[in-house]
């Protein structure tokens, strides 16, 4: 609908909405989410929905707000306005009597446990061994027994192809190995939602494949919801079932990987894809 700020009625055309089955509760829902850094508006009234088990890739030029979305879901930062829901429950703020109210730390803590994140820079704890990195949160946050956590950690290390690195220190590992440990550490928490923030951007080209292979395997063997920010278009194509193209904090275009990569409709999407490929 045309408005004063949007004379052609184009903005909000792609709202990130998905058709939900009756009574289906989405894994993630953004409602009019605004994020500002000072006077710089990164997200401007963003709406989108991610269904449970979806693998959604966010693409777009840097500064378009993709990473900010992951950081908001992980509660690394707070939104300026709007509401985020995880599995139907508010994440950080609720609306009460027309006012936006911050939820208590204790509640946020419980919500946060359901979400895991893998970072561009791995962010392993260098003062701990690989094993200690992986069991730290299962033992001290989830309250698992140390023996159980260690057993699970060894399984995960097997899964990411590093069965013999349990006692190693992160600094003695290559970037690709560190990122694989970080993936294992994230999985050890059994997250419902996994956030992948440019997980291969800091890696040497020859090890990108091994990390992506592990993520493909996780995508194929679990039903964890994934929200992915990546510049690896082939990976996005392989793993995700939905792609959202962002520009300036708005969704410009969305669709299946085939729709977006093979037949982009929007000029900005076309320009972006030809620039990165």
């Amino acid at each position: 609908m045309p408005t004063e700020s949007d004379p052609l009625g184009e903005l909000g055309l792609h709202t990130g909405a998905v058709e939900l089955a009756d009574g289906e509760i989405p894994a993630i829902r953004f409602e009019n989410v605004v994020k500002q850094y000072g006077s710089n508006t990164v997200l401007d009234g963003l709406n989108f929905t991610v269904r449970k088990g979806d693998r959604v890739t966010l693409i777009g030029p840097s500064g378009s707000g993709k990473t900010t979305i992951l950081r908001l879901v992980m509660t690394l930062e707070d939104s300026t306005d709007g509401y985020i829901f995880i599995d139907g429950q508010p994440l950080t703020h609720i609306e009460k009597d027309g006012r936006r109210i911050v939820l208590k730390d204790k509640y946020r803590f419980e919500m946060r446990k359901r979400i895991g994140m893998v970072f561009q820079q791995f962010n392993l704890f260098p003062n701990m061994t690989v094993l200690e990195n992986i069991i730290e949160a299962p033992v001290h946050v989830l309250g698992h027994s140390k023996a159980d956590a260690i057993t699970r950690a060894h399984e995960l290390l097997e899964q990411v192809g590093l069965p013999d690195k349990a006692k190693a220190h992160p600094t003695s590992l290559s970037g690709g190995q560190q990122q694989r440990v970080a993936i294992a550490r994230c999985l050890a928490m059994d997250p419902e939602i996994m956030l992948l923030d440019e997980v291969t951007s800091a890696l040497d080209p020859e090890v990108v494949g091994e990390v992506l292979g592990i993520l493909r395997n996780i995508a194929a063997t679990t039903d964890v919801t994934m929200l992915i920010v990546t510049h690896e278009m082939q990976f996005a194509r392989d793993v995700s079932n939905r792609v959202l193209m962002f520009d300036a904090g708005r969704i410009v275009e969305e669709g299946s990987p085939a729709e977006i990569f093979d037949n982009p409709q929007e000029e900005r999407t076309q320009a972006f894809l030809s620039a990165v490929s």
């Binding site: 803590f109 970072f119 704890f125």
Partner: protein, 217 residues
């Protein structure tokens, strides 16, 4: 007969036993106990300044700067005369500990700030509690970064122990002075005291170097 020689080994050997006893009982004791207090209290100060509400951290900061900006000797004398019930040695340990804690707090602050932001974000992503974040992740990394600077403060504390003489605690240098006063021979005893400090400081710095290596990962 007057001994007007420049150097007489007899006085070195005569003064040394008392000096060594004082070295162990006072100099080392005050250095170790004072360092322990400084290291722990310094960390507490750094944590309070970082994580408490404004008014509390402002008060702590004020007291800290006050202690940092007044001379150690003034503090020794003040506490010694203000709290007469405390024995001199205890005054020494407490004043050295608190005085150096204020310096070590600044070192810890820098160490805490040197922990990359990504480490904090990882603890959030793993839902770690604030207490666990500090104990398991931030403090171990911050302390590692601060070992060299903390070690330097331990050595300078060690070298300032002779100030204890001002509150009538006889440390090694005090023992040397005492001997010198009685026999009117100062050269031998003070040179010996200097050499003892040198001999003791060197292993300390080697030890700190080793500790640094052990904490490296």
């Amino acid at each position: 007969m007057i001994d007007d020689s420049l150097w007489n080994w007899k006085h070195v050997w005569a003064a040394l036993p008392d000096m060594l006893v004082a070295f162990v009982k006072v100099t080392l004791l005050v250095t170790f106990a004072g360092s322990l207090i400084a290291a722990v209290l310094g960390l507490v100060i750094a944590l309070i300044r970082r994580s408490s509400p404004k008014p509390i951290s402002a008060i702590v900061t004020f007291v800290m700067n006050f202690v940092r900006m007044t001379p150690l000797v003034v503090q020794l004398l003040f506490v010694y005369y203000a709290v007469p019930s405390l024995p001199g040695l205890a005054v020494g340990i407490i004043v050295f500990g608190v005085h150096y804690a204020t310096f070590m707090a600044e070192v810890y602050r820098a160490g805490i700030e040197s922990v990359p932001k990504g480490q904090w974000e990882a603890t959030t992503a793993l839902s770690m509690s604030p207490a666990r974040t500090w104990i398991a992740v931030i403090i171990p990394q911050a302390v590692r970064a601060t070992v060299p600077a903390l070690g330097n403060y331990v050595i300078s504390m060690f070298k300032e122990t002779p100030f204890l003489v001002t509150i009538a605690v006889i440390d090694m240098v005090g023992a040397a002075q005492k001997y010198g006063g009685v026999h009117f021979r100062f050269t031998e005893v003070f040179v010996s005291a200097g050499i003892l400090f040198l001999i003791a400081s060197y292993p300390t710095s080697v030890l700190i170097g080793r500790l640094e290596k052990r904490l490296a990962y």
